[in-house]
C-alpha cells in the first residue's frame, strides 16, 4: 500500500504527513513534486497543509493549476484515496474535487489550537476505526477554515452522510462556541460522493503521538489503511 504526499511550493506539513505514514502507518511513502504527473503505483495521496503559492489570490486557488492536480483528479475519479488536510482541503475545494469553499475565519484571527471534533459518520473509508459520535482532540492551524456551501449542497452532504466531522465541545455537544471559524453547521471535514476523497481542516497528521498532545489522529489513518487493505484483497 503506497502513499504519496503531494508537495507544492509553500506546503509546510508535507514532512508531518510523510513522518506519520512512514512511522505510524508503517507504509511506503514518496513525496510527489507538484510538477509530476505520473501517479501510477500509488494507492493513497495526501494533499498536505501549508500555504501553497503563499495563499495568493485565494487559499488553494493557484495550486489547482499545478500539473499534478489533473493527475490527482484522474486518480480520484478512478477511486483512489485522496486525503486533503487544511490547505489540502482548500485546494481540493478550489479544484472542484469537493463542493463548497473555505473563507476567512469568522473572527478574522488565525487559530492555532487543539479543538474537539465529533465523528458524524463512522461508516466511511476514513472512520471505520472510530465510533459514532466519538470525540477526537485534534489541532487546527488556519486563518481560512470557514466552510461555506449553498443549501442544495448542504442538504446533499447531510443526506449522503458526507459530513464526517463537526467541531464540538469536549463532551460532544455541538455548540456555536465550539466552532473555531464559523463553518456552516460546525463542519470540519467532508467527503466527495464516492467517499474516497476527504477534506478536513483539523490536522490528524499532528495528532499521532502522545508527546504532541493527542494521538487521536491515528484512527483516521488506521481506517484508511483498512480500506486500502480491503481493496487489495
Amino acid at each position: 500500500m503506497k502513499f504519496g504526499v503531494v508537495v507544492f511550493p509553500g506546503s509546510n506539513c508535507d514532512h508531518d504527513a510523510y513522518h506519520v505514514v512512514s512511522k505510524h502507518v508503517g507504509q511506503p511513502v514518496d513525496f510527489i513534486w507538484h510538477k509530476d504527473t505520473d501517479l501510477s503505483g500509488y494507492d493513497a495521496l495526501i494533499v498536505p497543509g501549508g500555504f501553497s503559492y503563499g495563499d495568493y489570490l485565494r487559499a488553494g486557488a493557484l495550486a489547482r493549476f499545478s500539473p499534478v492536480m489533473t493527475a490527482v483528479a484522474d486518480f480520484a475519479a478512478k477511486g483512489g484515496f485522496v486525503l486533503g488536510i487544511c490547505n489540502g482541503f482548500q485546494i481540493l475545494c478550489e479544484a472542484g474535487l469537493l463542493p463548497g469553499a473555505l473563507i476567512r475565519n469568522r473572527g478574522l484571527h488565525y487559530v492555532c489550537a487543539h479543538i474537539n471534533i465529533r465523528v458524524e459518520n463512522s461508516d466511511s473509508f476514513y472512520t471505520t476505526a472510530l465510533k459514532p459520535e466519538q470525540v477526537l482532540r485534534i489541532p487546527i492551524a488556519h486563518g481560512e477554515g470557514n466552510y461555506v456551501c449553498d443549501d442544495a449542497t448542504f442538504d446533499e452532504l447531510v443526506d449522503q452522510g458526507r459530513i464526517l466531522f463537526r467541531y464540538c465541545e469536549p463532551d460532544g455537544s455541538i455548540t456555536d462556541a465550539s466552532n473555531p471559524n464559523g463553518s456552516r453547521d460546525n463542519i470540519a471535514g467532508i467527503t466527495n460522493r464516492a467517499g474516497n476523497v476527504l477534506g478536513m481542516m483539523p490536522h490528524p497528521d499532528r495528532a499521532c503521538e502522545e508527546m504532541l498532545g493527542s494521538n487521536d489522529g491515528r484512527d483516521i489513518f488506521r481506517s484508511l489503511t483498512a480500506a486500502m487493505a480491503a481493496r487489495e484483497v
Binding site: L57, R58, A61, F65, C93, E94, P99, G100, A101, I103, R104, N105, R106, G107, L108, N146, V148, C149, D150, G182
Partner: protein, 81 residues
C-alpha cells in the same frame, strides 16, 4: 487594451474583513456607514492585436475560471480601449 476585473463576495456570504473595517471606521467617527464589503480589483493588460470581442471573451474566462471562485464570488469585467 486594458481590462478591469472586480471580484466581490456573493450576497449572503459572510465578509469578516468587511465587518472589521466597518467596526473600525465607526470607531474613527465615520457615521452613517451601514455596511462595508471587501473585494478584489485586477488590472489586466492585453496585447493590442486582439480583437475587442475576443479580448473580452478571454478576460471573462480568466475572471470566471481563475480570479473568482463561483461558489462564493461574483465578478464584473470592464474593458478599457
Amino acid at each position: 487594451m486594458k481590462a478591469q476585473v472586480y471580484v466581490t463576495l456573493k450576497t449572503g456570504i459572510l465578509d469578516p474583513q468587511g465587518k472589521a473595517i466597518k467596526h473600525s471606521v465607526a470607531l474613527l467617527g465615520f457615521g452613517q456607514i451601514d455596511d462595508v464589503r471587501q473585494g478584489k480589483y485586477f488590472e489586466i493588460a492585453l496585447d493590442d492585436g486582439i480583437a475587442p470581442d475576443e479580448a473580452r471573451a478571454r478576460v471573462d474566462r480568466l475572471a470566471r475560471e481563475v480570479l473568482s471562485n463561483p461558489v462564493i464570488e461574483d465578478y464584473r469585467v470592464e474593458m478599457i480601449p
